[in-house]
Symmetry: C2
Subunit: 237 residues, 2 copies
């Protein structure tokens, strides 16, 4: 496991952040590496260089801390996605538009760590690890923060691929999210299997490969393939 980036948290401090923000930064840094269960309130206080009682005073429980982390990212991240989605919708060429739609979903998730609110790779790592932990608090928070944006994304894809089945688009969006998470937490295998020709840490390349892969996966739904579709699954708009 990579060493904790205490310097990052300290540099926030020098930029005169307030105590709750310092605590949130520390919690996010730790949870992006060890998940929810693997981190104690005491460790968060230590990394933030505040008293233990200060964490309890500002946030109460670890669940509340998690909710606050989501709150400060979800809204700005959804806004960025909406902006990009609205621009994508203006493109007349359907395959170009589809590619732009997928990029609207992917690009905000990869933005640099310094861009603290509005997504970013560290927040995406938190979401990835929590999803794998099967964390119930996280599932509830994700539902309330992201399901609306995800539905808008599914609808935008369906407009480009009108012959596609809605539930198949949902499945493939799910794969897109899984691919994105896995790339951000476990890219070192790409270095190994390409013998160093490509690096899993190359976010520019990751965005390009992801968006082309999934534009192709969505386009494929325009063709008739053998995906089984139940009778109840008429297309919903």
């Amino acid at each position: 496991m990579a060493s904790l980036n205490k310097k990052n948290v300290r540099s926030y401090k020098s930029a005169s952040k307030n105590t709750p923000e310092l605590i949130l930064d520390a919690a996010e840094e730790l949870m992006s590496r060890r998940g929810f269960h693997g981190v104690s309130i005491r460790e968060i206080a230590n990394l933030a260089e505040v008293h233990l009682g200060s964490v309890t005073y500002h946030f109460g429980t670890k669940e509340n801390l998690l909710e606050a982390i989501y709150e400060r990212h979800a809204q700005p991240m959804n806004l960025r996605r909406s902006d990009l989605l609205a621009e994508a919708a203006r493109i007349t060429n359907l395959s170009e538009r589809l590619l732009a739609i997928v990029r609207a979903f992917v690009v905000p998730a990869f933005s640099s760590q310094s861009d603290v609110s509005g997504g970013g790779a560290r927040f995406t790592r938190v979401r990835a690890i929590l999803s794998m932990e099967g964390n119930e608090a996280a599932q509830r928070i994700i539902a309330s923060n992201f399901d609306e944006t995800s539905a808008a994304f599914v609808d935008a894809v369906l407009e480009c691929c009108p012959r596609a089945n809605r539930s198949s688009v949902v499945w493939r969006c799910h794969f897109l999210l899984g691919s994105l998470y896995y790339t951000l937490v476990s890219g070192e295998r790409i270095d190994r299997l390409t013998h160093g020709d490509s690096s899993g840490a190359d976010h520019h390349r990751a965005i390009d490969e992801l968006s082309h892969s999934f534009a192709a996966a969505f386009s494929d739904l325009q063709n008739n393939n053998d995906t089984p579709v139940t009778k109840t699954e008429e297309r919903q708009t």
Copy 2:
């Protein structure tokens, strides 16, 4: 988090498994839910209904336990993949062959839990959670157990898509693995976003959607797209 499946472990016991097997079953069950860090040797002993000293006697450390879990699955799982891959290679129609190649990779990962050795959904969940934990022991074990099979898979895809760039195939294989992991640990979002029309727990559907998505993503590499390729990345065979 779902409750622990103590009954599963007990039923193994009644099938007259020996103590090391009982310990491995318990460790696998617990790690598939809480990862490596979230599980103690004591909890493993409790679930297996053996003495703590017995775990230490048979395995020594938690790392050794993890290695033993991989050992009993990796070899049979790789064999199943190789068998399926060899059959796929006999198909003359290239798009049918490509689909069969992807299925050779995906199907063994989804086999039922009762099929204890040779892959299976529970073992795949262990791998998923460990990959998200950034576990170093797991990375080392994965490299020694799976890199060879993954390289064979990449080569098989390249034979169907001779104009594809090798490193792009590696990237997309990585996405396939991420999609597969994410579906097995976090499928409930599919139920929610399809309003119950489809279930993330439907492995048959998961296999079909995954294989069609990634056959499309690999085929896409036959076309010229704008994926940036560095000069050192000449195709390697």
